[in-house]
């Protein structure tokens, strides 16, 4: 990939981003509208010395990704809608066993089979709470083809750094639209590789030998002399199961803390014209594109509107939303669902301003004029 402008689809950019990040293993299962990622990886990986496998189902693909990650490499799967539901079982496993891996979820209409070819943003709460039990979540939300590339790279970095699965999610519009962008040169973007234990096998504890990142233990690869145990049961720091409530409590809290105490590193959010804004918009994915345009339209009409566009949706950018809420009359939350992320905006704005949703589930994008009309109401 030489430094040049390329015309690519969002899904395609994700695949190239994964290769750039050093991903050399993909397991997947065909599903609309994410299939292009599997197709691209099937094409690219053998050429880069990597491994592609089409598994028998979504759960199997997620299992294979975790198994391969334990072998020491960076691994990816991609899915949509019902496939994301099926993956939840093993996303939970990757959380508790603290196995790095990246999951791309291209959102389509639901529930169930729903509207496979239609865009949606209705998996955003599933991305946070889809798997059972308390667990940390890192979820990134690109809204451009270029961001599909860079956020996939960032997803791998965060996954390796925090030893946890990272989800990248965007709607079908972002996945399928084509845009021109400049492909980053090798070395241009930061690449974080998995830290290996510096101690010998005798001292190594898979959940108690610490990396340079607070509360993140170092993961030794299988096959290199460490011979440790990995389980989905609550475990001690040596990896073996425990029924000791105090130890379970300690490990669960550490697992949450390793992500939630590092929000400044994990949260990435773009602020557009919010400094003097009277009215705010909070939007991600393709909706953020319309919102950006709507804010421009408002400014052209003398209305001081601003946009918060999160590239990290989980952990939720609480601080940024609260700061905005203190300054504006209202925050408008357009989303292609009947209202999900609006509840987080309401929670974190703590009653400081009005919150108003624009909701759409008709498989059409939310247009700039729809958002502009909402802005005008609060003028």
């Amino acid at each position: 990939m030489s430094k040049k402008k390329r015309l690519m689809q969002g899904n395609e950019a994700c695949s190239h981003g994964a290769i750039y990040a050093g991903c050399r293993f993909f397991a997947g299962y065909p599903i609309t509208p994410s299939t292009e990622i599997a197709e691209n990886m099937a094409n690219l990986l053998p050429k880069y010395g990597g491994y592609f496998i089409e598994m028998e189902d979504e759960i199997a693909a997620m299992g294979a990704v975790i198994g391969a990650s334990l072998g020491g490499g960076k691994t990816l799967t991609a899915t949509s809608g019902p496939g994301f539901s099926l993956k939840q079982e093993h996303i939970g496993f990757a959380c508790i066993a603290e196995i790095p891996c990246v999951i791309i979820n291209v959102m389509r209409g639901g529930p169930s089979t729903g509207f496979p070819t239609g865009p949606s943003q209705s998996d955003i709460m599933q991305a946070r709470w889809g798997t059972h039990g308390d667990h940390p979540t890192i979820c990134l939300t690109p809204s451009t083809v270029s961001e599909c590339f860079t956020e996939t790279v960032r997803a791998f970095n965060l996954s390796e750094k925090y030893r946890t699965p990272v989800i990248v999610t965007y709607d079908e519009i972002v996945g399928h639209m084509r845009e021109q962008f400049i492909v980053p040169e090798p070395g241009e973007l930061e690449i974080i590789n998995r830290e290996k234990p510096s101690c010998g096998p005798e001292e190594y504890r898979p959940f108690g030998t610490w990396s340079n990142v607070p509360d993140v233990p170092v993961l030794a690869p299988f096959g290199e002399g460490y011979r440790f145990h990995v389980t989905g049961l609550n475990h001690r720091d040596d990896g073996f199961p425990t029924n000791d409530g105090k130890l379970i409590d300690r490990e669960e809290r550490r697992m949450m803390r390793k992500v939630n105490s590092q929000i400044d590193d994990i949260i990435k959010i773009e602020s557009i014209n919010i400094e003097d804004a009277d009215i705010g918009v909070f939007a991600y994915g393709s909706t953020a594109r319309s919102a950006k345009r709507a804010v421009k339209m408002a400014r052209e009409n003398g209305i001081r509107a601003g946009l918060l566009k999160p590239l990290t949706i989980w952990p939720f950018p609480e601080k940024e939303v609260f700061e905005l809420a203190k300054r504006v009359k209202a925050i408008i939350v357009p989303e292609m669902s009947l209202g999900q992320i609006i509840f987080e905006v309401e929670r974190t704005s703590k009653g400081k301003c009005d919150i108003s949703g624009i909701n759409s589930v008709d498989a059409e994008p939310i247009s700039p004029s729809m958002i502009f009309d909402a802005i005008k109401k609060f003028k």
């Binding site: 693909a61 072998g71 096959g223 990995v230």
Partner: protein, 272 residues
């Protein structure tokens, strides 16, 4: 000759969780003796399991061990083996784990012919949850979810494996420790997907519900019911009715998955 099991058992991890009289421990010992004959580097062996009584086995063993989700051991094993050809990957499953919730993964691992050995510890029951009938519970047998007798037909693990394309398929029982040892050795050595079905006793749940008064009775039933394949070939169908056919059902050489993949990569490079 005494066998030094401690070489493979993790320090301080015993006693195990299995009930008194359970056959899984017998099978585990047979597996270890079989593996020992192969002189493998323990650092290069991965033991993978799902959920259930049998799936607790890897925790006791001094290899790279991975205790995964219910039915899905083979999915993790497949990813690991595909990415790390240098590892010998062995999976252990119970009958419910391998054939019910894991049935889809089971047939596709057979079809792919990836170099993994699956040992099914087949005791006809879900033991860990307290004795529910499984896909291998014989029709007419009792379980806590078959209080009036099981009306489901049962799976024959070896026929399913053969039909799905496994290239090494064998059966034995926990009573036949020497045979288990030999079959495990052959299965692990075999290049491709291997399945060893080990009929095992669960005295506490299957035994109690099905009038086996003691664990010994279950072992003696295995001894008396087992019928070597070679002997069965000379017998009439009615004579083999109700018997456990033991021995090697399938042993054939077909291209192995990771080798096929490597060959494909070579071809791509040659073309470039």
């Amino acid at each position: 000759m005494a066998f030094y099991y401690e070489k493979y058992i993790r320090n301080g991890k015993l006693p195990h969780i299995w009930c008194p009289g359970c056959g899984i421990g017998i099978v585990m010992k047979s597996i270890l003796r079989g593996i020992d004959k192969l002189n493998l580097d323990k650092n290069k062996v991965a033991f993978v399991s799902g959920i259930g009584c049998t799936s607790r086995m890897p925790g006791y063993l001094d290899f790279n061990t991975l205790h995964t989700t219910h039915g899905r051991a083979l999915t993790f094993a497949t990813g690991l083996k595909h990415a790390r050809k240098d590892l010998t990957v062995i999976a252990v499953s119970g009958d419910g784990d391998a054939l019910a919730i894991g049935g889809n993964h089971f047939i596709h691992a057979c079809r792919r012919n990836i170099d993994i050995t699956l040992i099914v510890v087949n005791n006809f029951i879900y033991g860990m949850t307290g004795g529910q009938h499984s896909p291998t519970t014989p029709s007419g047998s009792y379980g806590t979810t078959a209080p009036y007798g099981n009306i489901d037909p049962s799976f024959d693990v070896c026929r399913v494996a053969d039909g799905a394309g496994a290239t090494f398929v064998a059966r034995t029982t926990s009573y036949h420790t020497a045979q288990t040892e030999q079959l495990v050795e052959k299965a692990v050595k075999h290049k491709g997907f291997s399945v060893v079905d080990v009929i095992t006793g669960c005295p506490v749940y299957y035994g109690r519900k099905n009038k086996f008064k003691t664990p010994t009775e279950m072992l003696l039933w295995q001894k008396e019911t087992a019928l070597p394949l070679k002997a069965a070939e000379k017998m009439k169908p009615e004579q083999i009715q109700g018997k456990i056919l033991t021995g090697i059902f399938v042993e054939k050489t077909l291209p192995e998955y990771t080798e096929r993949y490597a060959a494909m990569v070579q071809q791509i490079k040659a073309r470039a």
